[in-house]
Symmetry: none
Subunit: 126 residues, 4 copies
DNA sequence: GTGGTCTAGACCACG
DNA sequence: GTGGTCTAGACCACA
């Protein structure tokens, strides 16, 4: 499993990491019972502070997504814990889209243009 | 001209304000030569500190978008300063879309679903 | 006599005006007894506020350089009032040069380069 | 690294600080990767408010000259970002020289005299 | 009245 | 500990 982090991004490192782990699980790249890298390994690999990794693991454990066993390591506990109820899911998507559209409008890019761009990317991925 | 700000958003007030002003100009609601509200008026209206407004005006002036005349006020200088060259525009859009897709993936929402959502909103607006 | 003002300059209008009037007198373009434009004429010509012109005339009158006669107008009173004692003159020059060199250094331009540039301009003027 | 500030100067503190930092980088006293003092340290040292220092660092970061790592500190990112293209460099120098000559003329100091003064200073420095 | 600068001090995000 | 954001309020420069 490869996670990646952009140190020059304004998005906090911990948020980037949490996001990519959640995405990996949501996409099925990591399944129930799969082991994650140790805190130290991942910290070295991503060249970030081990505290930051530990904080993310702890956060995801609190959310019921990961589980940690002392002396063993951290693994995926419940991928379903990511799935939000449809209603909240919809609300989150709306919020994300709001932000995108606001930022796009600020540089003069309209909704149709955004859609066109995403459709292009959709084709590329196929 | 109406700008709006969400004090409960994690996005800094100054960033929200800058974004809405840029959007108003990009959309043609504010044109070259149009006056903006005074720093103090806008601060009162948005219930934020005058320094925060002043900071945004100063930033937009540095970007060549607004101009200030001492003791007079602030007005739109060059709407074109917002328009980026096509190449950079495309890059910005890609960056914004990347962010959206990363966040969406983290809660298990896929690209097609994002597109569907945006198309729905596009219809609503018509 | 032509004075000029740059409204987009960060230098205050009154300071620009005072400077050009002083320079015209120092250079001998305006001599003792010469009349200056009326406050209103100059204001219209330069497209600035009449108060600003009046303020400059008043300032120069206080300095003993101009004199105003009610119903008549403003004229040059004493060109010599501009000439500073050699010591202060030297100090002023040093201060001005300090500022120039500091600003030049900030964009990576060194003293010899500044001198070369001024010598070029000296030739052009001849 | 020593920066200095003159609180009695009419030039805004933040502008003085920005200028000296730029000069230090342009002169090679600070190189790529070098750490700058922390915001609070520098504020104490210069006896100015920490916000003022932070403002300067932020401005230089926006200019691409410095870079900030969250919770770590501020360092030089790209000294080349200061170097302007020759054309603009020339224009800047001309603007600075214009200002100097205008101010000098206003106290009756001519171009040759300015050049003589700068040559004197050039000798002193050797 | 306008905007510009600076301060003191709070609270937050981050590592 | 680092920097980032925001506030309240002072004082100045300018028209």
């Amino acid at each position: 499993m490869q996670f990646h982090i952009d140190a020059s991004s304004p998005v906090p490192l911990y948020a980037q990491l949490e996001r990519t782990i959640r995405a990996a699980i949501a996409a099925g790249h990591l399944r129930e019972g799969d082991r994650l890298p140790t805190v130290r390994h991942l910290a070295v690999e991503l060249r970030i502070n081990a505290n930051t990794v530990a904080r993310v693991y702890a956060e995801l454990e609190r959310a019921g997504i990961l589980t940690t066993q002392r002396g063993v390591g951290t693994s995926v506990r419940d991928p379903a814990a990511i799935a939000k109820p449809a209603r909240e899911r919809e609300r989150s998507l709306r919020t994300l889209a709001d932000r995108l559209l606001a930022d796009a409008a600020a540089i003069g890019i309209s909704l149709p243009e955004v859609i066109r761009h995403l459709q292009e990317r959709s084709k590329e991925t196929r």
